[in-house]
């Protein structure tokens, strides 16, 4: 693809996003709640686009297609987790949504600080999540860099592509806050869905239709259509553990909580929980057929994650540009959401909690903190993109989701169990993080189950046992967090 065409289309898309970001900036009122949660007025349609666009990132285009390409249909396990995630979004999410509206929590860690009466708990949880999220953003930049490098036939370097997108994300996120992120997510999400659907039909038609495409794969690589996949990549215990880790890990992701607590009504939250899986079906279903087409057209790619960019090189120019913008949008939507979330966590959990010693900062400080945080996060993420593991999906499967998964016991436990204490929460997180690092470094798993699962179970046990023998939180806090639920819930849990 011609380098001029690539830059012109990128600049046009960025102009549209910049315009949306500018309008959002004009409409953004004063106050931290308005900047980081759009005053809790997120509707269903915007919510669906922003949540799914945030979920389906560079991972969908490179990692997932790379896995389909090299290991086959077992990759769908990462879709199944989204259906389970829908259940958590309402059953767990409605509680945090309610409490956040009632007491003004702005983020997951903001809630934890109040629930456990401890800035140490929220700051340590923040540290875990910030580490995971920075790696997550790094994976996105790597995806963007690979795309532009491949499509331009190395005329645009990996570094130039990644840095260009990093600057775009940093600019409009810092300017317009949550409202800008949502508006651009809707635009980018619509473009992302349209692009992947059109590309799928085009690729498959080039090969004579869906049946002919599958016939080719059946003849040349039938193991890709079978389970547990080539080299036994997807054994059943691994499938169960991965669904558990990814569904809970995605739920605990701070950007997910941010969207849940920003929803304007409980009905919207319910519908989001039901329909979110449909987004996964579309994206990952399309990814499967594109990967199988890539298997037919490029059967010997040295780097499986280049399957999608490789397919784009044989599409008509207009469609390749459209598809490239789809990838870039998927990357940007994930990055902007995470960068904004990280900024608000740094503001609440480090600046207010540690530097100001739990005093509220003036609203104007938020802008200053964000201007400092956004470039810092972006630079760290770029370092991950350069020096992290070679595969995007390894970054996510081995680091990002296992880390966030470890925060689940104290998050969900804090929502449903009155007995959780500050010491129990801290012990759980510290022990399980250390154990996870050791198990991952030694590459130990248990009967095919990811190391994060036993680590998580240990974290639950430590949380329970230590909480039973340490000082409980005050009665006032318990009443605030559980009073309404105990008196009024017609619970099915």
């Amino acid at each position: 693809m011609d380098i001029v065409q690539i830059w012109v289309s990128l600049i046009l898309a960025v102009t549209v996003m910049g315009y949306l970001g500018y309008i959002a900036y004009r409409k953004t009122g004063d106050g931290v709640e308005e900047f980081v949660l759009q005053s809790r007025t997120l509707g269903l349609v915007a919510g669906f686009f922003t949540v799914t666009a945030t979920l389906f990132s560079a991972l969908s285009y490179f990692g997932i297609m790379g896995w389909y390409y090299s290991n086959g249909i077992g990759t769908w396990v990462l879709v199944a987790d989204v259906a389970v995630l829908g259940l958590y979004i309402y059953i767990f999410g409605a509680r945090i949504w309610y409490l956040s509206r009632k007491y003004g929590f702005l983020s997951l860690t903001d809630y934890m600080k109040d629930r456990y009466e401890s800035a140490a708990v929220s700051s340590f949880a923040s540290l875990i999540l910030l580490t995971a999220l920075t790696v997550y953003v790094g994976a996105q930049f790597r995806g963007a860099g690979i795309t532009l490098q491949t499509l331009s036939n190395n005329q645009i370097s990996f570094a130039a592509g990644a840095i260009f997108l990093a600057i775009i994300v940093a600019s409009y996120t810092a300017a317009g806050g949550f409202r800008a992120v949502i508006w651009t997510d809707v635009f980018q999400g619509a473009l992302m869905y349209t692009a992947i659907i059109v590309v799928t039909f085009f690729c498959v038609n080039m090969l004579g239709g869906f049946a002919a495409t599958m016939k080719n794969v059946e003849t040349t690589a039938p193991e890709l259509l079978s389970l547990p996949g080539k080299y036994n990549r997807f054994p059943l215990p691994w499938v169960f553990s991965t669904i558990t880790i990814f569904s809970l890990g995605n739920f605990v992701m701070p950007q997910m909580t941010q969207r849940i607590i920003a929803m304007k009504s409980r009905k919207s939250l319910k519908l989001l929980g039901v329909w979110i899986a449909l987004g996964a079906v579309v994206i990952f279903g399309a990814a499967f057929y594109i990967s199988m087409a890539a298997r037919t057209c490029f059967p010997n790619l040295a780097e499986p994650e280049a399957a999608y960019p490789a397919m784009l090189t044989i599409l008509p120019t207009w469609l390749a540009i459209f598809a490239m913008l789809g990838i870039i949008c998927a990357t940007l939507t994930t990055c902007d959401s995470i960068v904004l979330t990280i900024s608000s966590m740094v503001f609440k959990d480090f600046y207010e909690a540690i530097i100001l010693k739990n005093k509220a900062a003036p609203d104007k400080m938020l802008t200053k903190i964000i201007r400092f945080t956004v470039p810092s996060v972006v630079i760290l993420a770029l370092l991950v993109a350069w020096y992290g593991p070679a595969s995007i999906i390894e970054l996510l499967v081995d680091i990002v989701f296992p880390l966030t998964f470890l925060v689940t016991p104290i998050y969900v436990g804090g929502l449903f169990w009155k007995g959780g204490t500050r010491t129990g929460a801290l012990s759980s997180m510290v022990t399980s993080v250390i154990l996870l690092i050791v198990l991952k470094l030694l590459r130990i798993n248990f009967m095919g189950i990811d190391a994060a699962v036993p680590t998580f179970l240990l974290g639950c046990i430590i949380f329970y046992v230590v909480s039973r023998f340490t000082k409980p939180v005050s009665k006032e806090t318990i009443v605030r967090h559980f009073g309404d639920f105990e008196q009024r819930v017609k619970t099915i849990l």
Partner: protein, 67 residues
């Protein structure tokens, strides 16, 4: 009683994965182009969505929040 029945249905649905996970088999191709395990996954996903709908709208544990 409702909560136990729903919980049991949820667990069975989740464990249904074991049965939609026919190892080593990809035939028949459903509609000529969807490998059998892939099709089973679609069905599993839509069943889970339906389960979520039933729990959220017919047995909503948080109905009181609208008060």
């Amino acid at each position: 009683m409702q909560k136990y029945i729903l919980g049991a249905i949820g667990v069975i649905l989740y464990l249904l994965l074991i049965f939609v996970y026919p190892q080593g088999i990809y035939k028949p191709m459903v509609f000529g182009c969807i490998p059998a395990p892939f099709f089973a996954w679609w069905i599993w996903t839509f069943l889970f969505m339906a389960f979520n709908y039933v729990v959220f709208f017919m047995f909503d544990p948080y109905e009181w929040m609208d008060d």
